[in-house]
């Protein structure tokens, strides 16, 4: 890979994302790799490698990689990092950039629509509240109004996140 063809601004772009500030300070000690529960089961997954690719500016390769979605956000890597990179947060920042670039799996949009419709991931209808009543639990209500405002989405005409507002 020719560094001349890489995008040196990519690392800065990630660093501008909330939680992405730490990316440039990685000095590759591999403590994160050692503690990654995903890496230990998935040979091709190595958080340090993803960070390295991002630092080198291999923008498309990183954003389009299905691997970035495998971070289970367990925070082990952030805990062990001596440079306070907060690797989980950096990967979240990268995922956000990937989503904005259209690489996100469709589940994100689905969840946003669900929240706009119900204010919750799981719909609470009469069936659910009946079941709760049987157990003596108080009913649960849905308050989707605030969510629609914050998400910039209307429940009847759902639009994917990022496109609206």
């Amino acid at each position: 890979m020719r560094l001349n063809d890489c995008d040196p601004s990519f690392k800065h772009e990630i660093a501008r994302q909330p939680g992405g500030e730490g990316i440039k300070t990685c000095f590759a000690c591999a403590a994160c790799t050692a503690r990654c529960p995903v890496g230990s089961l998935k040979p091709e997954y190595d958080p340090r490698r993803l960070l390295r690719l991002a630092i080198l500016g291999r923008r498309e390769e990183v954003l389009s990689s299905p691997l970035i979605w495998l971070c289970c956000s367990c925070q082990n890597c952030s805990e062990v990092c001596p440079q306070d990179v907060r690797c989980t947060d950096v990967l979240t920042a990268i995922k956000n950039l990937a989503a904005a670039a259209g690489y996100a799996p469709p589940s994100g949009q689905a969840m946003a629509r669900q929240l706009a419709a119900h204010g919750r991931l799981l719909e609470v209808g009469e069936f659910e509240n009946d079941k709760r009543a049987e157990l003596g639990l108080p009913p649960v209500s849905e308050q989707p109004g605030d969510y629609q405002a914050l998400l910039g989405l209307k429940p009847e005409a759902p639009r994917p996140a990022g496109e609206g507002a």
């Binding site: 909330p18 495998l70 971070c71 367990c74 589940s107 991931l121 914050l150």
Partner: protein
């Protein structure tokens, strides 16, 4: 003692045994868990896609909850983690706070710094205290051994969960298990993640993450695994059969909620604690309470 219950999305729909036992145990300990209808999603599901929006949703919940002045007590580790992180972020970063306030204002909401969020397990340990719990124990569970599953977001990131347990050598759940008289198992994969976070992206991987814990515990003489999070529960209980099939091995690990065994030890009946809804039944445990 009063606290504000934060149910989140999953617990009130899918994990009624958790909610039931949590409410019962809290009441038994003299903690009044208040409900608030306006509380919805904590924002966690959107974090990977758009964390700014996720933060807004968390800030909304914190603003709502904050108006009560009570400690917010989520039952779900993801909710607890998200709300704690959001509160930490908002309290320490005035710029973000201002930006978020601008978005909340049209909704008639305002985030006031200093909202206290404590996962139920932490709340029980720190605010209620082991001593108070021990006083309520009437039926010690001496003959049982439980494997605690801490999960990730109860303890981490430790810079946010300041002053709580050491994520590298956690003891909080073990102490809550041992207060019932039962043994807490220390096992190899004790600290590992359930895999729930990647269930959507790679079901096979998530299954293997949960599977290695389940397989280890199948070998160990353990009454049940103790969880404190509905997502972890999905992996260990909900997916247990699927995982066993996929990995081609015998897996049989009963999964219970912390509050269920605390309730048993306090003399509540399995029915009151929703054991009917447990899918992998802790038969050995229930037999003792017939």
């Amino acid at each position: 003692m009063e606290a504000l219950l934060f149910l989140g999305c999953t617990v009130p729909v899918r994990n009624l045994n958790y909610e039931l036992s949590a409410r019962k145990v809290a009441a038994h300990l003299g903690v009044e868990l208040k409900d608030m209808a306006e509380l919805g999603c904590c924002g966690y599901p959107l974090k990977a896609f758009d964390q700014e929006t996720a933060l807004l949703l968390a800030a909304r919940a914190l603003a709502q909850a904050g108006s009560t002045g009570l400690t917010v007590v989520p039952l779900c580790s993801s909710c607890a983690g998200t709300l704690n992180e959001a509160a930490h972020h908002l309290d320490h970063d005035p710029e973000t706070r201002a930006r978020v306030q601008d978005k909340l204002r049209p909704l008639g909401l305002e985030y006031r710094p200093g909202v206290r969020v404590r996962h139920l397990a932490r709340y029980l340990l720190e605010e209620v205290g082991l001593k108070a719990i021990a006083q309520k124990i009437t039926r010690p569970l001496n003959e049982f051994t439980f494997a605690p599953h801490y999960g990730c977001h109860l303890l981490k990131p430790s810079r946010v969960m300041v002053g709580f347990d050491d994520p590298e050598a956690p003891t909080s759940l073990a102490r809550l298990i041992e207060v019932t008289g039962a043994q807490a198992l220390d096992y190899r994969y004790l600290k590992e993640c359930c895999g729930g976070g990647v269930l959507g992206a790679d079901e096979d991987l998530a299954g293997r993450m949960a599977g290695r814990k389940l397989m280890e515990l199948t070998q160990a003489a353990v009454t049940a695994m103790v969880v404190i999070c509905p997502f972890c529960n999905v992996m260990f209980e909900g997916q247990q059969k699927t995982i066993a099939k996929k990995l081609g091995s015998e897996i049989k690990v009963p999964v219970v909620y912390l509050t269920q065994i605390l309730g048993l030890a306090m003399g509540l009946s399995p029915d009151e604690l929703g054991f009917r809804l447990n899918r992998v039944k802790p038969k050995e445990l229930l037999a003792a309470f017939k």
